[in-house]
């Protein structure tokens, strides 16, 4: 039995070495165990008390050792089964190791065994057999239990308080004694027991011999051993898919199928507490809209304290640098050489540079420019090829040369054979269009501002405006007698009717002098104001015509009737500075273009119909489409606006092709063409198709730029342009004293 115990102890020793976590539990149970042990040792204690022989001291000590061994065994009671069950594999190994120790112990044991048996003889006093019960149950009885034979064990004599006191006083070991409940006697604690108590109090391992820090024996490691403990082959089980795992997985799969588990919906539960500053020291990832701060320039070679000689400026360069304005300097420092780093002085521009850097950082533009990923071709509207839109004028045919001043105006006769032009050289000339031959020349006493051929094909003549006069002139050589007579009749018939009261009149219709009559003048209109008449324009029938004198205030716009020599003042008050006036080609409408607006008046109803808002700053010219529903204006701020009267009071199209102010715009009377001429010396030809279908918007295609015909004189280029009435030709006049025909 002892042998078994020893073996178990050795086992225990080894085990505790590897299983330190059991220690705590063991120490906790220790106090109880001590009681148990006392029970077992009761006999010994008694004997030691009863027999004071010295001899017995030795077995006592040996007994102690056994007690400790027992204690160890007790300590191990809970673990033993686990130990064996868990490591049954290694049993053989343990036994092998144990054998060495066992052999040492066995000799000792033999001696011990003999002594024990002797003592057993003596101590065969029946112990209390009541077992482990609360002993206060026997408080009321004279005995404290029963021995092996069932005889009562009487309570030992219990001393009174005095005895206790005396014992306390006399017995020096009294404080070392503990009352044993089972025997109702005081037992003196041994040194070992005291040591154990002390250790427990100190929260140390009770066993003094136990070394918790024994080196670990790696019994089971991952290292493959040359001579493995077990040579058993890898079991099949390790290679076979686990049945239980499969079952578990099937269970999950079924749950997913039935919808009890939604895969992918694994909500990662946020920890309740987290480190707020955990990532504060890491650099933040760039925001998609992040704009990095401007980079600083890296230092240059010549900024070194010891730059190579080629970087050092010579005297001349130094001087130059110093004379330069600080803002013009390429570099704001002069490369300098120092013998050593120690000799480098403090950097004088440090604060300045830091300040500039700060300015850079907060003034740097933080604007992200999105690159438009659009095919530029797709933005260009699909227009027909200009080649398909012919005919239109393409090249300069020839010039009409003769004038010696700017040619501000000209007009073409309705058949397209003659051209009359008025110039700053105070002459009016008539040209044969096809040959460029000057047929007529008249000299007047002022700059000719406007000229207009009578649109009536039966009448041969034109009106011309110079200073505050308007004259009707008939170049009689160009027409046959019938026509001349008709014209004469047509124009001068009014003299018979209109000589009533002269005072109220805005305009005096005056008979030209004989000399003037000889040269073709038929009637002269003297305006009562002294302002220059800037524009004359015909009504389509050639009876009425309007004159415009922008500076003359309310009398600026007048409408005259040629046959009756009557003059009307259509507007009592005129808003703004009128730039152009025009009759509608079909309807009884009248267009008045001021600097920014075009007002449309109905002459029959005598009311304003419409105001077109051009959006330009200063209108220079105006023309109405021969169909009457569209008008174009040119402006001094380079724009050409196309208005569709049915569409809106805002421009349908705004064209900005000229680089200088537009001087004149013109529609072709037969072909779908219109043109603009500008101070940049060019004439732009556009295809402007107007459809009868109201739903279809006009088609506007730029087809040709006519350049090179006119020189720019005093920043004035082409002053007037007009299409030939029947052919796709355009005639233009310029500040360079010539009129050009483009075909």
């Amino acid at each position: 039995m002892a042998r078994r115990k020893i073996i178990s102890v050795t086992k225990k020793r080894k085990a505790t070495g590897s299983e330190s976590p059991n220690q705590k539990k063991n120490t906790v149970e220790l106090a109880k165990d001590i009681n148990k042990r006392n029970n077992t040792q009761k006999e010994g204690l008694i004997t030691s008390k009863t027999s004071d022989e010295e001899e017995e001291e030795e077995p006592q000590s040996s007994d102690n050792s056994e007690r400790i061994l027992n204690l160890g065994e007790d300590l191990d009671v809970g673990n033993d089964s686990d130990y064996i069950a868990g490591d049954s594999l290694e049993d053989s190994q343990i036994e092998e190791i144990d054998d060495d120790e066992v052999s040492d112990i066995s000799e000792n044991e033999r001696n011990l065994g003999e002594k024990k048996e002797e003592q057993e003889e003596k101590d065969r006093e029946p112990p209390n057999t009541v077992g482990n019960i609360p002993m206060e149950w026997y408080d009321d009885y004279p005995h404290i239990g029963y021995d092996m034979d069932g005889k009562k064990i009487m309570k030992p004599a219990k001393g009174d308080e005095l005895d206790k006191f005396l014992d306390k006083m006399e017995d020096p070991d009294y404080w070392l004694s503990v009352k044993d409940d089972l025997t109702q006697q005081n037992v003196k604690l041994t040194d070992e027991e005291l040591d154990i108590i002390r250790r427990i109090q100190m929260q140390e391992i009770p066993d003094a011999n136990y070394n918790p820090y024994e080196p670990m024996v790696e019994w089971f490691t991952s290292k493959p051993e040359v001579m493995p403990l077990s040579a058993a082959p890898e079991p099949k089980r390790r290679f076979v898919p686990s049945k239980w795992e499969a079952k578990r997985i099937m269970k999950i799969v079924r749950a997913i199928r039935e919808g009890r588990i939604i895969p992918g919906n694994t909500q990662v539960q946020k920890p309740r507490f987290y480190n707020l500053w955990a990532d504060s020291d890491q650099s933040r990832q760039d925001h998609p809209m992040h704009i990095p701060a401007p980079k600083m320039k890296l230092p240059d070679h010549d900024e070194s304290y010891n730059p190579p000689a080629e970087y050092l400026p010579n005297e001349k360069e130094k001087e130059e640098w110093e004379q330069m304005d600080p803002e013009d300097r390429e570099k704001n420092y002069l490369p300098q050489k120092y013998s050593s780093l120690r000799a480098v002085p403090a950097y004088g521009r440090f604060i300045h540079e830091r300040f500039n850097r700060c300015l850079d950082l907060y003034l740097a533009p933080r604007l992200r420019r999105n690159k438009l990923n659009i095919d530029p071709e797709s933005l260009i509207p699909k227009l027909p090829n200009p080649k398909d839109l012919q005919p239109f004028p393409t090249r300069l045919a020839f010039s009409y040369i003769g004038h010696t001043g700017r040619i501000r105006c000209f007009s073409i006769d309705p058949l397209g054979l003659w051209l009359v032009s008025g110039s700053d050289d105070q002459t009016i000339r008539v040209w044969e269009i096809t040959t460029g031959r000057c047929v007529y020349t008249w000299t007047v006493d002022d700059i000719v501002h406007s000229i207009a051929w009578c649109p009536n094909k039966d009448v041969c003549g034109f009106i011309v405006a110079f200073s505050n006069k308007v004259a009707f002139i008939s170049p009689f050589k160009l027409c046959d007698e019938e026509m001349y007579l008709f014209t004469n009749q047509y124009v001068t018939a009014g003299f018979n009717q209109s000589q009533k009261d002269d005072k109220k009149k805005n305009v005096h219709w005056v008979q030209p002098t004989e000399q003037e009559k000889e040269s073709g003048y038929l009637v002269i209109l003297n305006h009562s104001h002294s302002k220059t008449v800037k524009q004359v324009t015909w009504h389509r029938k050639g009876d009425y015509f309007a004159t415009l004198a922008p500076d003359a205030g309310n009398q600026g716009i007048l409408i005259h009737q040629l046959t009756k020599h009557q003059t009307q003042q259509p507007f009592r008050k005129i808003k703004g500075i009128v730039q152009r006036v025009m009759f509608h080609p079909i309807k009884p409408l009248f267009f008045v273009a001021t600097q920014r607006f075009i007002r449309v008046y109905n002459l029959i109803k005598q009311e304003a119909m419409k105001t077109l808002q051009s959006g330009v700053k200063w209108i220079s010219s105006l023309d109405v489409h021969p169909m009457g529903d569209n008008i174009i204006i040119g402006s001094y701020d380079k724009r050409l606006c196309w208005f569709d009267l049915d569409l809106s009071s805002r421009p349908y199209k705004i064209l900005r092709y000229h680089s200088m102010a537009i001087r004149s715009v013109s529609y072709h009377k037969r072909f779908p063409l219109f043109a603009s001429c500008s101070d940049d010396g060019s004439i732009q030809i556009f295809h402007g198709m107007v459809y009868n279908d109201l739903l279809q918007n006009p088609l506007i295609v730029p087809v040709k730029i006519l350049k090179g015909g006119h020189n720019i004189v005093d920043s004035l280029g082409v002053l007037h342009c007009e299409f030939h009435p029947t052919q796709p030709w355009i005639i233009s006049s310029g500040a360079d004293h010539q009129i050009n025909l483009w075909t």
Partner: protein, 447 residues
Amino acid sequence: MEQDNESQIQVKLVTQQRKYAVSDSAILVPANLRRYGLSEIVNHLLGYEKPIPFDFLIDGEFLRTSLSEYLQNAGLSTENIVTLEYVESMLPPSSLSAYQHDDWVSSVRGHEQGYFLTGSYDNNARIWNPSGECLQTFVGHDAPIKSVAWVSIQEEDVICLTASQDRTIRAWHSSISDKQYDVLYECRGHKGSVESISINAQEALFSSGSWDSSIRIWTTTATPNDEDGSDYEFIENAEKRRKIRKKKATSIIVKKPISILTGHVGPVSSVFFDTKDPAKLYSGGWDYSIRTWDIESRTNVDTKNCDQVVYDIAYSEKSGLIASGHADRAVRLWDSRAEDVAVVKLSLVSHQNWVSAVSWSESSPFMLTSASYDSCVKIWDIRSKTPLYTLRASDSNSNNHNRKKESGKKLLCIDWSKDLILSGGEDNRLHIHGAKKIEGPYTKENL
């Protein structure tokens, strides 16, 4: 004749000019030969000491490149025999003289007898003889003369017509020897400038085209075809008319047209009688059309349309083609016989500006000449699309500075009369170029 690295081509040389005919067997010539080389071969074959320049035609077109290039461009094989037709080259025209006028020369006509009739913007018409003397000056029109025409020259008696911007046509009679002239009659009726007149083959009728878009037919006889009783309302208004016109010709016979052809919708710029058929008239106008009229039935037989204004037309009886000058710088050729087919047979573009006048050569069915506002006269052989020669009006006697100045001078009229090309225009001169096929020493510089 054999050369390394060069292929040779078999050619057959043929000609319609009997005197230059060579054997029609095929001969081998180097493929890189041009006109000059071929001309040398022909001269060699003919055994001429004085070489005569020849031009070569393949399939009716002038050879302007080397033979190999031509074949390559036409996609022809070099293995086959190429038939080359050769004709005597026209020598470059030489400027003979220039007659100074007081004003622009608007119209010119040459006569077989060597006289030139010119109309000018100074309202006068003149007759010149070949030595440059102005034989006669007809004064009477109130406006520039736009067109002139010969009626007849019988010994000393000359009858000619002038059309003017004053809407009248006058017939003048004079004798060459003395300076006397008188107005045979005056044709009134046009309401616009008379731009062109043309006399038919029988010289009995003439037509006039005017800006009033009508064509009027008149007789050339001096007797008025109408009773003068209805001599126009302007007689009634004679007083007023006197104010307009200082010169009033009271004694002039006034004629009325025998017929008025209307159809053109724009000004008529040119009329031209068929030189064979006295009843056939061609006209061109601003309405882009070339019309054929039958005088007798007064109907518009045929209309050919293009897309440009027609300035002048000319008909060649030898080739039956109508040439027209246009505002788009082109000379177009139309087949007068092809009715209902309004297709341009050929378009000759080389001028830099409007073509103001065209005229066919009387001798050749292929040659014509054109005058343009770019002050150039071009001579064309219609077998080639490039002009044969370009004559600058100012080439003859003016230095560079003047030439620049005059380069913008428009040419207004041209007439190819026998061997002479007459042209006049804005530079106030009548230029006369000799266009004769002169047999002379052939040098490289001439070509």
